[in-house]
Each structure stands twice: as structure tokens, then as C-alpha cells.
Amino acid sequence: MSAAEATVRVVLDQQDGPILAPERRNAVLRSLLEGGYTVTVTGDERSVSPLDDAELLVLRELGAEADHDSESTEGGLPVRVRGVADLDDVGVLEMVQRHGHGRVAPEWKPWFPVIDYDRCTNCMQCLSFCLFGVYDVDHEKQIDVANPDKCKTNCPACSRVCPEVAILFPKYKNGPINGDIVQAEDVDREKMKTDISSLLGGNIYSLLRQRHEHAASRFSKERDETRALKERKRCLAKLQKDFDIPAEVLDQLPSAEAILEKARGASTKSEE
């Protein structure tokens, strides 16, 4: 993943007492969050996260007249103070939007795999399987979610191939993929391997283990095309139903040979 630039940090300043009437303040807070802004609410008790490079936009219970607005610096950072007493939630959001962006890609639902490295064994099966280039290896040859925005929304397919149940999709409906505790029965490798390998028309993982030419050529020769296609269709329907894999993703599945080739590449990458 690559790091984003610091965005504006909105502060609802209540150091000198509550800002706005509760209902209006809560509407403002909600609308800023829905607009993609991180908001720090100050108050009597508890502290807040430290200052960093983010520009501060401090909202106070002041009229919006220009002489209330001020620009200063705190620790070398620009601090803008704006009055919000005369504005409703829409007005506050519009004013904040003039100062900096909130949501970077509003049309993208943040759906992407998150790896639980306490469980991951770096086997590279996810990298071999993913069709969209979401995974790569980092400089320490460890599996990495390099391109989260390439992930197909609502597709949890790679979490099904992970033999260690190490891939999470926090916005998925069911556990353990959503981050719920992994139970012993979740680590049901044989079931997962059967489903995925029959989908591919052969046992890809045993093929991977025997990565010599003989096995590879037998793999392509022995397949009965019609039967394989039928079996594949049956498995696609089952996967779609059982595992919530979008039809769009299933339609794009490459051939077993193509996946085998990808797996070879993944394995080489992790060993280089």
C-alpha cells in the first residue's frame, strides 16, 4: 500500500464550553464524518491524539463574520479558526470542504483483504489465486496487500483459499472472515482445497508440489475438456451460492494452466 498525504483535521473546539446546541452539534459531527473527515472533539476529560502534519481547522461557537476567522501556526502547522454559530450541518460541511478534501474516492467502498500475520505462513496461495493483482511480496519477501483498490467489491474468494484463515475482510457479514475469532472448525483445509481445486479442474496444490515438467504436461493432457467444463460450471454455481463470490468474478476466472503459471511466479517471487 502507498501512503496518502495528510488531510485536514477538523477540531470541534469545546475547551471553553459546548459548541452549538446538542442536536445541531451532533448533526454537524455526523455530516463531517459522512463527508469523510476525521474529527477531533475536545472536552473536559480524556485527551486526544497528538498533533502531526495534518492542517488543523478549528470550529468554534462564533459568528461567521470575517474578523472571527483567524490563521495562525501551532508547532509550524497552519491552524485555521472558523466560526460555525450561523451555519447548519450542510453549511459547515461546505465550509470545511473549501479547506481540504475528506473522502478521496467516494465511489470506492473500502473492500480489500487484510492479513492476520499472526496466522499467515507466507504460503503465497492468495497471491497465486487473486486475479486482479491485489497481492504482492514486500521487500522482506512477505505477502503484502499491495493494491487494495484493485480488489473486487464484495468478493471474499481469496479468504477461501487461505489454508490458515488468515485473510480478513472487515466489512464481510460473517465470521471469521469479518475478524471474528477463528474456531477450530474454521481451519478446515481439506474442504477449502477440494472446492477450489475442483473449480480449477484439477488439484492445483498437489501440482504445485510436483513442479516438474512431467506433472505439468500430464495435467494438460489428461483433462477431458467437456467433463472439466461441466465440473467447473457446477463448482462455480456452488461457490457463488456458498461463498458469496460475485458472478462477475467467477466469469473472469482464468484457466487452470494460467493459474498454475501465476502460482509458479508467486513461488519464485517469495524465493528470489
Binding site: M1, A3, A4, E5, A6, T7, V11, Q14, Q15, P18, P22, R25, N26, L29, R30, L33, E34, G35, G36, Y37, T38, V39, T40, V41, T42, G43, D44, E45, R46, S47, V48, S49, P50, L51, D52, D53, A54, L56, V58, G102, R103, K109, P110, W111, F112, V114, I115, D116, Y117, V145, P148, D149, L168, P170, K171, Y172, K173, N178, G179, D180
Partner: protein
């Protein structure tokens, strides 16, 4: 705005956008409860989204010595989201509250527990 030089507890609230995985009524109850309580807190639009773009906000939310209550979803998801953004949470002092499984009332009660009793609990542990 005070920084976290002291060990005063912090609260981070996640407003979980795009999907209804956190029941909207729980989210609303917690957000309003925090805002109405008068305590200071940090609120983020969607931790998943911040993690996907490695937003530097996650660094500051994970930083500091103060114990922190994160109000979001499953602890395993939250822990590895921060890690994915190279903003790993400290091993100690982090409590993650799960709005997918807890009621708003229970979440607020746990998070707004008076600081003194939290310190006592921690001192006993």
C-alpha cells in the same frame, strides 16, 4: 488542544461507512452518547478506508503512551487494519469495543467508565 503527553485515556470512534455491518442505531447511539457526555474524543469516518489509503491519521491515532479505547468492530480486524497501514497499535493499553456485537448502551458504559476506576482496575491487573 491538549496532546497525549499525560497518560489520560483516549477514545477513538469509527463511523463505519459504506456497509451496514455495524447496526446504524448502535453507531448513532454511541456517537451521540460520546458527544453529549462532554468528553474529548477522536472520530474517524471509516477505519477501513483510512487503512486502505495508509492515511497518516492512523499513525497519530496509534501514537502516544495513553491507554486508548477504540470503538469499532472485531478486535482482530481493527488490529490488522492498523498494521496494514504501518501504524501498528501498541501491545498494551488498547481496548477495542465491538459495535457489531455490543449494544450502544453497553459500549458507552464501558468507554465512559470514570477514569479513576479504570486506573484502579489497571493497577490491580
Amino acid at each position: 488542544m491538549s496532546e497525549t503527553a499525560s497518560a489520560e485515556k483516549r477514545i477513538v470512534y469509527c463511523h463505519c461507512a459504506y456497509a451496514r455491518v455495524v447496526p446504524p442505531e448502535v453507531k448513532e447511539e454511541v456517537l451521540e452518547g460520546l458527544a453529549n457526555s462532554g468528553v474529548a474524543f477522536d472520530a474517524v469516518p471509516d477505519l477501513c478506508e483510512l487503512a486502505a489509503r495508509q492515511d497518516p491519521a492512523l499513525q497519530r491515532l496509534a501514537a502516544g503512551d495513553a491507554p486508548v479505547d477504540i470503538v469499532a468492530c472485531y478486535p482482530r480486524a481493527v488490529k490488522w487494519l492498523f498494521h496494514a497501514a504501518e501504524a501498528s497499535l501498541p501491545d498494551a493499553g488498547v481496548t477495542i469495543h465491538n459495535m457489531r456485537t455490543e449494544t450502544g448502551e453497553a459500549t458507552l458504559a464501558a468507554v465512559l467508565e470514570p477514569a479513576s476506576s479504570i486506573e484502579l482496575e489497571e493497577a490491580k491487573a
